[in-house]
């Protein structure tokens, strides 16, 4: 008679077990995860906070990132490693006074990167933000906002092509 069930009040696995078949439900996975980038510059008005639209997905394991809204809304609760790298540029040399990017969770700033060149304005600032953010797995979302201040009106500004935004879940 074949035995199909072993039932115990407490199964103590004090021996060594080597699983070489398929195991599900053990350990954990680092998904949802995604990586997206800017494909082409995104023009923005100076001195106006603007959501960065990383419009090209390199991958998106769980379809949790929206290229339309620029938001990542994972449907699995947990803590996520989130980072972004953005290059903010002015249209002319030596007019970029200061700039920053902010990592938003819902409507609150989690962290930011600021460059202030007021006495020595340049053309491009490079920003990186990194944080581990607790997400509720339903409504919580994160996004990147950018801001550029230039020396005078009449110029344009942009978020550069190939700026990136990515996240993955950490295993707890």
């Amino acid at each position: 008679m074949a035995i199909t069930k072993i039932q115990s009040e407490s199964l103590n696995l004090s021996d060594n077990y080597d699983f070489t078949g398929t195991v599900t439900g053990a350990g954990g996975v680092m998904t949802p995860a995604f990586c997206a980038e800017r494909n082409g510059d995104q023009g923005i008005s100076y001195s106006v906070r603007t959501t960065v639209k990383f419009n090209n997905e390199i991958f998106d394991s769980s379809n949790a990132y929206s290229t339309t809204s620029g938001t990542f809304t994972p449907q699995v609760a947990g803590k996520y490693y989130i980072s972004a790298n953005c290059q903010l540029t002015s249209s002319q040399n030596d007019i970029l006074n200061y700039s920053f990017i902010e990592l938003y969770k819902n409507s609150s700033v989690v962290t930011e990167s600021v460059h202030n060149n007021l006495n020595n304005p340049g053309k491009i600032d490079n920003h990186t933000v990194i944080a581990i953010v607790d997400m509720n797995g339903s409504t919580d979302n994160v996004s990147i906002q950018a801001f550029i201040n230039v020396a005078a009106g009449g110029y344009t500004a942009a978020i550069r092509d190939m700026s990136t935004f990515q996240a993955y879940k950490i295993i707890e």
């Binding site: 115990s8 407490s10 696995l13 990586c35 040399n93 491009i124 990186t128 190939m162 990515q166």
Partner: protein, 191 residues
């Protein structure tokens, strides 16, 4: 078909191995049960390897505006010997999956007030995949700058490889280099 109710299962003394199930079948742990592991386990979950972290041991000279492969020559660790730190300076992971890849480059001009900007590139299979432009001083030239970038990239676990490049723009065609201590690394994420 039957059920064994017991509190302890042990291997026969000397055998050391307890086999549960066989190929093609499923061992089910019902919802609400808890497995407490006080021993050693292998094969469960996943690992975040291959992984590596490398750096430059000395400044690497670059030519103005030339896109130059960064020759990371010092390994802090390289779990699966997937990074070549002596010939091609590339990461060729032998496990398919998605990898978080990062690099931080610091560069300088040969003299002060000559640096315009630094571009950092991550190449996949010889082609530019990620580009990050560091602070652009333009005509208000600087001397040193730092540029960090990271991205997650899918690798096929056999032929795909990653390399890191730098392009330093100096005023008036002077030269400079990528500083010692610049670094790069990667690790596999568990899916």
């Amino acid at each position: 078909m039957g059920t064994i109710k017991t509190t302890n299962i042990e291997t026969i003394t000397g055998s050391g191995t307890l086999t549960i199930g066989q190929s093609g079948e499923t061992i089910n742990i019902p919802s609400g049960c808890t497995i407490t592991n006080n021993g050693t386990q292998t094969g469960f979950g996943g690992t975040m390897t291959p992984a590596f972290h490398v750096s430059l041991s000395a400044i690497q000279q670059t030519t103005d505006l030339a896109t130059t492969k960064v020759q990371f020559d010092t390994e802090s660790f390289d779990t699966d010997n997937c990074f070549d730190n002596s010939t091609n300076y590339r990461f060729t992971p032998t496990v398919a999956g998605k990898y978080f890849i990062y690099t931080s480059l610091s560069c300088r001009s040969d003299s002060t007030n000559q640096l315009v900007n630094l571009r950092t590139y991550i190449y996949k299979n010889g082609s530019e995949l990620i580009k990050s432009i560091g602070t652009d001083f333009r005509t208000n030239n600087g001397y040193q700058t730092l540029n960090y970038t990271g991205a997650m990239i899918e690798m096929n676990g056999s032929t795909d490889y990653i390399e890191f490049f730098a392009r330093v723009d100096h005023q008036g065609g002077t030269n400079g280099g990528v500083d010692a201590g610049s670094y790069a690394g990667a690790y596999k994420i568990i899916e």
